[in-house]
């Protein structure tokens, strides 16, 4: 094989090999990392109902469960707003349930890991998508860096390993946008974008924000395209006119002036127009030919094709929007049996649950928030404190470079606009799409009425845009560095690798150190976990850190019932996994459970201080016997009831039998 084909072969396969490597790396790292992570309160619910949904689907395919409103309601619906967890779409839960059913056991996959595998795989897919998208826009090296930075986000890495929706929705959000972007240049991808949008809708409700990304991007770029092309009758360069029609062309072209250019025009079909140079033409086109006229046109084109054909043409032209609008909801309905009956009413119930959701207690900047108006800056500040500082710095650099480049292109690229279609123009503005993605994902949290429970996971789809911007910033910095010594033997690629490695290594260290308590992670700007505590930022949620206290609890002799606080839903899981003593049952909730217990734990969040005080009152001491800490910050306290001073038991007469 000669050098040129070898080069082409390498160029074709190298990205695929890298993509496969990134997938395996992400899958392995997150898959291993989650084995040290506790069980989230909500995760137990999703796993329970995931098993139920999987039971229904397999039962249906085996003919054991009828497809009826009754059976669907009993597995997926119900009268109450949270019956069968119908407030959340089923895709991830169903996949988790099927995974647990099929993959548990083989290759030593534990039950918990089996539930989590679909989310882990989807996260690996996200890394590949980020690589693919960034590579197409900014090159291979930038793509690799963007992918690694997306993988090495401490909080996102943590969520990626849970059988919850917060990781998967990022994949399907970004996947929808990538497919839409590819669809601006490919009809096949338009259908893909519709299906992926449907998968996103079937995963988490914040997918309903995706039209607020795609719509503004499509409309905005088309308006901008029109704006830039208006008044171009008096051209300063070459116009490319592409007319697609069906029939025979009867065209009159009058060419006046001096032919000085080198443009070419081709009519495929009956007739050929070949012109060069400046052209003044009046074309009446009623045929089926494709005319590509690259001459400078000083006249007018009239297309007499039928209105119907023009409508079809318009639909085809705007199918980037139409496919998601049609296929998205259809995919959602196909995957969610509960919507097979009364779909409008059920969709309304699903969404109204989230629009009227109870406000959780959440600590932010020292205040416990549980009622509107919430601070408008929560998404910005929390992101500022929870994305690795090096990644943030590079992202700021990349965003500045991107905005500057966009502005320059707008000023200087008028000529290019003249030569491209509106769709091609939109395709070229991928940076705007990424910016809109971040804005739409974070947007609701600027309203002041959107609950801030759960912190950064609710606007997690915004973060890949930051990582791509960071990679662009790193590439820019590498180019600047390489330009300082243009005669150096190493090329820009080596400098890019060096700079990229520094930033990626920084993110990797932070991600490694944050696990398995990444909900308590804060970056260097906040001062780490202690700095986050000083600032009064949320410490954690879901009771997930309790797993770290289990070895101590298991070591305690003579305890008979535990008040397990926020880990109560996971307690049975911990017992079945052998992490908690089987002979130590959960004593029940609140004061009654505390009074029944002889060992108690409290997960430290500001609003959970009340549980400390309830234990103090019941146990008669303020002294915990164990405090689980992350970087010095308390996460979980464990109390043991001091020996009771029991009054002597009166000897009661034996009751008559």
């Amino acid at each position: 094989m000669s050098a040129a084909p070898q080069q082409r072969h390498l160029q074709r396969w190298l990205p695929r090999i890298i993509a496969a490597g990134l997938f395996i790396l992400a899958f392995a790292l997150v898959g291993e990392g989650q084995t040290h992570v506790g069980i989230a309160r909500d995760e137990t619910v999703y796993m329970t109902y995931g098993s139920r949904y999987a039971e229904w689907w397999t039962g249906v395919f085996r003919g054991k469960i009828p497809v009826s409103e009754k059976s669907i309601t009993s597995f997926f619906g119900g009268a109450g707003a949270t019956d069968n967890n119908r407030e959340h779409p089923p895709l991830l839960k169903t996949l988790s349930g099927l995974s647990e059913r099929w993959l548990r056991g083989p290759l030593g996959v534990s039950r918990l890991t089996a539930f989590r595998l679909p989310a882990i795989a989807l996260n690996a897919l996200l890394i590949v998508i980020i690589f693919a998208w960034t590579r197409r826009l900014w090159g291979l090296g930038t793509g690799v860096i963007a992918a690694l930075l997306t993988l090495l986000l401490p909080r996102a890495f943590f969520h990626a390993g849970l059988a919850c929706f917060d990781g998967p929705i990022v994949t399907l959000w970004v996947g929808t946008l990538y497919a839409y972007w590819r669809g601006l240049a490919s009809t096949r991808w338009r259908m893909v974008s519709g299906i992926v949008f449907g998968l996103a809708l079937a995963t988490k409700h914040n997918a309903i924000l995706l039209p607020f990304v795609v719509g503004p991007h499509y409309v905005g770029t088309h308006v901008l395209h029109w704006w830039r092309r208006r008044g171009m009758k008096t051209p300063t360069g070459t116009v490319t006119v592409t007319v697609t029609d069906t029939g025979t062309d009867t065209a009159t072209a009058t060419n006046t002036g001096t032919d000085t250019g080198t443009g070419t025009g081709t009519v495929t079909g009956t007739g050929t127009v070949t012109g060069t140079g400046t052209e003044t033409a009046t074309n009446t086109n009623t045929g089926t030919n494709t005319v590509t006229d690259t001459n400078t046109n000083m006249g007018t084109d009239t297309n007499n094709a039928s209105v119907a054909k023009r409508c079809v043409s318009a639909l085809r032209q705007h199918s980037s929007l139409l496919w998601p609008m049609v296929l998205g909801p259809l995919t959602l309905i196909a995957l969610w049996p509960w919507l097979w009956f009364h779909p409008i009413a059920h969709i309304k119930e699903w969404l109204s649950f989230h629009f009227t959701h109870v406000h959780y207690n959440f600590e932010y900047l020292g205040h416990n928030w549980n009622a509107p108006r919430f601070p408008w800056h929560v998404a910005l500040v929390t992101t500022l404190f929870t994305v690795p500082a090096a990644t943030l710095t590079a992202a700021a650099c990349g965003a500045a470079v991107g905005v500057h480049g966009w502005y320059r292109a707008l000023r200087a690229g008028r000529e290019q606009t003249k030569h491209e279609s509106a769709t091609a123009f939109a395709h070229r503005h991928a940076g705007l799409l990424l910016a809109l993605s971040a804005a739409a994902s974070m947007g609701p949290f600027f309203l002041g009425s959107t609950p801030i429970f759960g912190a950064e996971k609710h606007w997690a789809p915004a973060i890949p845009s930051f990582c791509i911007a960071a990679a662009v910033g790193i590439a820019w910095a590498a180019r600047r560095l390489a330009a300082l010594r243009p005669s150096a033997s190493h090329g820009p690629a080596v400098v890019l690798a060096a700079v990229g490695t520094c930033v990626v290594a920084s993110a990797a260290i932070e991600t490694r150190q944050a696990q398995p308590y990444a909900l308590s992670y804060y970056n260097a700007l906040a001062g780490g976990a202690p700095g986050g505590a000083d600032l009064g930022m949320n410490r954690q949620f879901w009771g997930i850190a309790v797993r770290g206290a289990l070895p101590f609890i298991a070591s305690q002799p003579n305890v008979h019932a535990i008040y397990s606080h926020d880990a109560s839903p996971a307690w049975g899981w911990y017992q079945s996994m052998g992490l908690a003593p089987k002979a130590l049952p959960d004593a029940g909730p609140e004061a009654m459970g505390i009074d029944r217990s002889d060992i108690a734990l409290v997960v430290h969040e500001k609003h959970f201080l009340r549980h400390d005080y309830m234990i103090w009152k019941s146990y008669g001491t303020v002294q915990p016997v164990f405090v689980l800490r992350s970087d010095g910050v308390p996460l979980v306290s464990v109390y043991r009831r001091p020996p009771r001073v029991m009054p002597p038991t009166p000897v009661a007469p034996t009751p008559p039998r």
Binding site: N361, A371, P530, L609, R610, Y613, V622, P624, V625
Partner: protein, 214 residues
């Protein structure tokens, strides 16, 4: 009394020194009645309970700074919480009164807790309370979850000998609100009037502590 700073280090402090912190001290009305306060701090933080006290000695132990603060000694002549069994409650009572160690403003407070009916008041009278020169009280709405679910405020008035001497209205985000009134030393009937303000003011867990001080 031992306090820790910053506040988030409190569990670690209690793990090591909690056996020296009685429940009454942990659930204090304020720090004024403690002539000596041991302040255990990291990261140069300061607990607000030592504001106004004088640092007498300080020593650093590998990043943990222990400081002994002192302040003038005061005498508590009567404690409303301790005297609750002698008090008489009347009015529109939904629940209570009871002696609790409650969360008010994300801090522990040993207090008398009473729940008036919405838009109604409860009068809790301490007959012949031994007053000093000052009557100090703290009050707030207990329990973060009922504060979240019901946003209506509460009100506390202190009446001595038929005269209102102090009043405070407190909302869900006001925490522990202090009241103070100058008093004539000697025995007097003191009434605390707790009101759930507003027709929707259900489950107002009004929690108050009061000390007569000399």
């Amino acid at each position: 009394m031992i306090v820790f700073a910053p506040a988030w280090i409190d569990p670690v402090g209690r793990q090591h020194l909690g056996d020296l912190i009685p429940l009454d001290a942990a659930g204090r009305l304020d720090a004024a009645r403690f002539p000596t306060i041991w302040h255990v701090a990291i990261r140069n933080a300061t607990n607000p309970d030592v504001a106004g006290a004088t640092a007498r000695e300080s020593q650093d132990f590998d990043g943990v700074t222990v400081t002994r603060f002192e302040q003038p000694k005061i005498t508590v002549t009567a404690d409303a919480a301790a005297l609750l069994p002698t008090a008489k409650a009347a009015g529109a009572i939904a629940r209570g009164p009871s002696l609790e160690l409650a969360e008010v403003g994300f801090a522990p407070h040993r207090c008398v807790q009473v729940v008036p009916q919405p838009n109604k008041s409860v009068r809790i009278t301490y007959p012949g309370m031994a007053l000093g020169t000052t009557l100090v009280a703290g009050v707030g709405l207990a329990d973060i979850f009922t504060r979240r679910d019901v946003r209506a405020p509460g009100k506390l008035e202190i009446e001595i000998g038929g005269t209102i001497v102090a009043t405070a209205q407190f909302g869900v985000d006001d925490g522990w609100v202090k009241l103070q009134a100058a008093t004539q030393p000697g025995a007097a009937d003191v009434t605390f009037i707790a009101t759930a303000v507003g027709a929707n003011a259900r489950d107002r867990l009004i929690c108050f502590a009061a000390e007569a001080r000399q």
